[in-house]
Each structure stands twice: as C-alpha cells, then as structure tokens.
C-alpha cells in the first residue's frame, strides 16, 4: 500500500516535470500581437541591459553564454531561438505575467521598462526587424506628444490634471481618458481620490483630501499618470503642490536614541561613559604621577 502510494507520488512528479516542460505558453492573441509604439533606441537598449542585469541575469545568465540556472523547466538563454521566436507582444506578456519559476514582473517593472528589456533582448537576434504599432490616434488626431500637467485651485479643494496632445503647432486637450493621481509617501504611492476621466477641456478633477499630511509648509509630492499605457506609452508627471496639512513632525532620526548616530547619544549614556572613563583614567594618571614621586624620593 505504502509502496504503491510512493510510486504514484513519484510518477506524479515525473509527469508533472514532463508536462511543465512541454506545455506551450498560452498567450492571448491580442497580447501577442501587441507592439511597441516607439522605435527602440540605443538609450532603450542600454536601460534594458541594466534592467536585465539587475532582474534577470541571476536565472537567465549572460545572453549567448548559455550559463542559465538549473531549473525545471530551464530558463532559456535570451539568445536562443526558443526565446527569440516569440513576438514582441508575447515576450511582453511572458515577462509581465510569468509562469512557474519565471517570476511575474508586472508589479516590479512598468510597461515601458519591459519594452526596454525587450529592446535589449532583441540585440541578440540578427534577423530581428522591429515592427511598430500604428501611431495612436485620438478623436481623429494623431499626436506626436501627449503631456499631463498638475495644478491646484486657489482654495486647494481640487487638483487638476490637464491632458494635452501636441501635433506640430497644434495643441489640443484630450477628453475621455482615465488619469490616476498619487501622493508620494515613504514606502510607496498613495492613491488620491479615485481614477478620474478627463472632461471636454482635457481636465481630470480630483478632490483634495483635507487631512493629507505634507511637509513643514504643507507641500506634497504628487504623481499623475494615464491609466492606459497602450495608447501613448507611459504618460506621467510629477509635481509638488502645497495641498497638504503643514506637519512639523521631527524626522525619525531627530531624537537622541541608542540606535542613532554618535552625535545623538542619549545624555545618560554619554555622561555614564565619559564619567567612568575619566574617573578610571584620571586615577591611572594619579598612579603614574606617584611613580615619579617614588623615583624622585630615591635620588
């Protein structure tokens, strides 16, 4: 009975191993067909290399050297056909979503960063010809550049994110797109209000929280971002606005504490330490002086 169950467990492992290796990776058709909206530049490729070194190299090794980590199924060498045969879109999908031992990077890297890595990965494929996504059009216009801008009204009750498209000398507000607003905090970003759509004037209006702590003069760092990254790539802006409550809380490393720097030694400790050292070494000096007296007396 026991032997039999052990046998089945083993069998299960073997089958699971084989299975994992052979299952094709299901990439939804629309994701697989996805393309970058911008042409890869050397700058993209350089950023991509750094991101690769930091996030991928530990498993995928140095491209072309086939020094990948031993896992089942093994992570493919980026220069190998197995990886290069993917469309740009399915590379983007696989890196974003991950599978098994391959981690999902969608919460670690943003979409633009993943495109940069793909730009780098493609340098190991001589036959690669980049196809570009059709320039996103909006309201019949094809924009060269799209910009977000943050302002606050006089009374600091509303924060305005203005979305504008540029094409040559034409400047036009873009309506109907969702914008997210965040306040930058110590350990990540805090969403302000809820995602808002731009109105006919290209404005997304966020109501200002009354109790958001700012720095000593009430300044808060804000980040606004277009939710849809597919249309124009990552559209993002950062500004510091005086919309918070002025908070003059001393920094955490302000008080004297055991864990702080030496200049911030607790007074009781400073006194005890210095007093003990001074007393003991004071007596040592006294004793040494006595040595002199003894010697003098003997002359």
């Amino acid at each position: 009975m026991i032997l039999k169950s052990i046998f089945f467990v083993l069998l299960n492992f073997i089958v699971a191993g084989l299975f994992a290796q052979t299952t094709p990776w299901d990439v939804p058709a629309d994701r697989s067909a996805k393309l970058s909206t911008t042409a890869f530049t050397d700058q993209n490729r350089n950023t991509g290399r750094n991101l690769y070194q930091a996030n991928c190299k530990s498993c995928h090794g140095d491209p072309g050297k086939n020094n990948v980590i031993k896992l089942v199924p093994p992570p493919p060498d980026p220069a190998a056909t197995q990886l290069q045969q993917n469309t740009d879109g399915s590379l983007h999908f696989k890196i974003s979503e991950g599978r098994g031992a391959m981690p999902s990077f969608k919460n670690i890297l943003n979409s633009a960063e993943i495109w940069n890595i793909i730009a780098f990965l493609r340098t190991f494929n001589k036959d690669y010809q980049q196809q570009l996504a059709v320039k996103p059009t909006f309201g019949g216009e094809v924009f060269d550049k799209v910009e977000l801008k943050l302002t606050a009204d006089q009374t600091h009750t509303t924060i305005v994110a203005q979305l504008t498209g540029f094409k040559g000398s034409l400047v036009k507000p873009i309506a109907g797109l969702e914008v997210k607003l965040f306040a930058v905090r110590y350990f990540g970003n805090l969403m302000v209000d809820k995602p808002m759509d731009t109105n006919a004037e290209g404005k997304a209006l966020f109501s200002c929280p009354k109790n958001l702590p700012g720095d000593a003069s009430g300044n808060v760092s804000l980040v606004a971002q277009l939710s849809n990254e597919e249309l124009f790539g990552l559209v993002k802006t950062e500004s510091t606005l005086a919309i918070g409550l002025p908070t003059d809380r001393p920094p955490l490393n302000e008080p004297r504490a055991l864990w702080n720097v030496v200049q911030k030694t607790p007074v009781w400790l400073l006194i005890s330490y210095l007093a003990s050292v001074l007393v003991v070494w004071g007596f040592i000096v006294v004793v040494l002086l006595k040595l002199r007296t003894i010697s003098k007396l003997g002359e």
């Binding site: 702080n260 607790p266 010697s295």
Partner: protein, 449 residues
C-alpha cells in the same frame, strides 16, 4: 595588602635566602632559548597564515554570511575570560586579607597582562580590513557595546600592566647586585624598573597607596570587561544569547578558566624553578578549593542558562537547545559540561585530588574545555538565524573552521605563551619582598613543602 610595610625584613637574613631562591632561575639560559626559538618558529608559521588572510581576505576562513563570528570571537572571549583571574586573586582575595595568595599573586597578574594584551590582537584577527581599526575610534558610536568593549579591554590591560610593574618595584631594588648571573641588558632593565627605589618608608607608603588604588580600580574594570563582552551577545534577541544573566554567567565562567590557568603556571613554577618552598602543597589545596567554589557557582549559572529555557522550549530557543543537547553540537556540549565542570567538581572534593600533579591535569582539561565552551556559546547561535537559510551554497550553512583560521588562532595562543614565558623567566615570579616581609613578621611559621 597591608597599608604599611615593616622594613625590618630588609635586615633579616632570611631575605638573602628568599631572594637567591627566587632569582636563581631568572635569566637567559639554554633551555629558555630553545623554548623561545621553537615558539618563535611556530609563531612565524602562524604569521604566514595571517599573511594569507590579509592577502585574500576572510574568505580563507570558514566565516560566511551566517556564521560571521566563529573561532576568532570565541577565542577572544576565552582570552578576556582567562585574563580576569588577575582581579580575582590579587584584588578580591588579596584585599580581603588572604595571605596565602601572596606568592601566586604575580602569576595571576602575568596571566592578566598576557591574556588581555593578546585579546586585543585576537579581535584584529577577526577583521577583514584590519587597517580600518582606527575607524572604531573615529566613527565609533558610544551607544555600541563594541566601543565599550574596546574601552574596557584597553583599560584593564593598562591597569594589569601597572599593577604588575608597581608590585615589582621593591623586587627590582632588592635584585640590584644579586643578579650578576644574568645578561647586562637585563640588569639595566631591572635598574630602570626599580625607579630609584631605596626602600625608604616614604617610598613604601606611596607605593602601597598606588597599588591600593590599582587594586580597587581593577575590580569594577574587570567586572565591566567581561560583562560588556557578554553584552556583545546579550543585547541581541538571538536564541542562546538573549539572556539577562549573561553578564554573571560569563564572569563566573571566566574565573573557572582563569583559576585553572593559574594552577597550570603554579605547577610549572614549582617544578621547573624548584620553588616548592614558596608554592607549596598547601597552595594547591587552596587553589583546588577556589576552583571548586568558582566551578559550583558557574554550574549554578549553567543550570539557569540551560534549564530555564529548556523548560519553556520557545520555538527558536528550542531549536537551539536541541542542537546543543542532542544535535550537531551534542558531543562537544556534553564533553565540555562533563570534563570542564562536573567531573572536575566531583574530583576536587577529594583532598588527594587537590595535590599538585592531579590538579595540574584537572586544570589543563578545564582550561581546554573552557576554550570549547566559548565556541559553543558563539557558533550554534550564529548557525540558527531567525529567517530561513537560503540562496547560499550548502557549505555556507554550517561553520567549518579552516586550517588558516586555526593556525591564526594557534598563533594568538603562542603569542600569549611567549609573553608569559618572558615575564616568568626574566623577572621574579614570586614577590620577594612580600614573602620576606611575611616570613620576618612570623618567623616561627614554616611552610609545608
């Protein structure tokens, strides 16, 4: 230590006999040269190991991410511990008026000087970048027990050296004209170290006052040095170290190690220097009782340190204790507890075991066990971190000291033995003036050899 010296012993004929007895072995002879050159050779081999470590870094040791304190830090704790006996014998027993400690007080001081001096060097051996040692003083934080440790080790070493030098001043003066058999440079050194001492009553008065100050200062300093060393561990929350009794636990353990070191040297002095008239069977008996006393106190602290957490078996504590009681370290743990504590304690109950030869053997076993005891305090805790050990090569999970590391450790021990040998052979190991004063004050008491 009396507050006054009766200088009539200087006229007593007994002084001549005592001085010539004690000064006879002093000097540079053939066997001393052979002994020292063998030690020097050994030291050079170990220095070569240290050169390798300087060149390649700590990677040549068994220290890795998890066990970053291994043999070196255990060795450091051992050295600090052993040096503490100077305080116990000279200060505590001496000041309480126990006269029998007079002949062995200097031996205890020699141990204190040698071991505290080498302890500082041992710490440097644990540093991958020893040239950054000054950073401790430049950027050190007063809040850190490491800075306190550096402070107290230096202070204790200074006090021990001063105590050694001060109590030897009258002997240096007595030895004038009596050490014709020694090389001139040694005679010069004696002259220097006698600081123009003429046995004038005023000189004795100042001397005694200075010694008294030193003896008093040394008590809190010695307590501080080993308590702070224990705090290096106890201020963390790690199983096996997170203990409120670590200070006294270390302190009493130190007395066990130190007393056995004194017994070993006493035996060597008695037999090699033919000084059995001064270091008598009686002294061994007394030291045996002292070793028993400190052992039983240490046993009591061990009981608290292991039984109380073992009763509760808190998750992490339990993992640590099981490792010690029945796991990877069980053999070492039980050997150390039995050979270093329980068996010696039982043996020392018998008078026949408190004779010089059996005491010598017991003391050697206890001293070796106390070295391993320090390893048991440092390594098992380091091998059991709170977070799972992962993403490192298998060899990093457990600690395997390397040959280089062991050689460097042997080197530090060699260095301590060399310092002890020099101090014991080139200077009187028994305080001539104190013995002479004692004998002239009680002329009828004859020592039992």
């Amino acid at each position: 230590m009396a507050s006054e010296v009766n200088t009539k012993f200087l006229q007593d004929k007994r002084l001549d006999r005592i001085a010539s007895d004690i000064l006879r072995p002093v000097g540079v002879d053939r066997s001393f040269l052979i002994w020292m050159s063998s030690l020097t050779m050994l030291l050079f081999v170990c220095l070569y190991a240290y050169y390798i470590q300087l060149d390649k870094g700590l990677i040549v040791t068994g220290l890795r991410d998890y066990v970053s304190w291994g043999m070196y830090i255990s060795n450091f704790v051992f050295f600090v511990a052993t040096s503490l006996v100077g305080m116990l014998i000279s200060s505590v027993l001496g000041m309480m008026g126990y006269k029998w400690v007079k002949p062995i007080g200097r031996i205890a001081e020699i141990i204190a000087v040698a071991f505290s001096a080498v302890a500082g060097i041992v710490i440097v051996s644990d540093m991958g970048r020893p040239e950054r040692l000054p950073f401790v003083f430049m950027f050190g934080r007063i809040q850190s027990p490491i800075l306190w440790d550096v402070t107290v080790v230096t202070t204790y070493m200074t006090l021990s050296i001063l105590l050694y030098v001060f109590t030897m001043i009258p002997d240096m003066a007595i030895s004038r004209g009596r050490i014709g058999h020694t090389p001139p440079w040694l005679q010069k050194t004696y002259e220097l170290l006698s600081f123009n001492f003429q046995h004038k009553p005023e000189q004795y008065k100042i001397l005694l006052k200075a010694v008294r100050i030193l003896l008093i200062l040394i008590v809190p300093t010695a307590f501080a040095i080993h308590t702070v060393t224990s705090w290096l561990f106890a201020v963390t929350t790690r199983p096996g170290w997170d203990s409120t009794i670590f200070g006294p636990y270390f302190l009493t353990g130190a007395f066990v190690a130190g007393s056995s070191a004194v017994i070993i040297l006493m035996f060597i002095v008695r037999n090699n220097y033919k000084l059995s008239r001064y270091i008598t069977v009686e002294h061994f008996d007394k030291m045996g009782k002292l070793l028993f006393l400190v052992s039983i106190v240490y046993f009591y602290f061990n009981l608290n340190e292991y039984l109380v957490p073992a009763y509760k078996m808190k998750t992490f504590e339990a993992r640590h204790l099981i490792e010690l009681f029945t796991g990877e370290f069980a053999f070492m743990f039980w050997s150390v507890q039995l050979l270093g504590l329980i068996i010696p304690m039982i043996l020392l109950l018998f008078k026949s075991m408190r004779k010089p030869a059996p005491m010598f053997i017991i003391a050697i076993v206890v001293l070796i066990a106390s070295w391993f005891k320090r390893l048991l305090i440092v390594v098992p805790t380091m091998e059991a971190p709170f977070l799972p050990k992962q993403n490192v090569p298998d060899a990093w999970m457990v600690y395997h000291p390397t040959i280089v590391e062991s050689a460097i450790t042997v080197g530090t021990i060699t260095l301590a033995v060399m310092i002890i040998s020099v101090l014991m052979k080139l200077f009187p190991v028994i305080p001539i003036w104190e013995i002479a004063e004692e004998e002239s004050a009680h002329p009828d008491q004859q020592p039992v050899e």
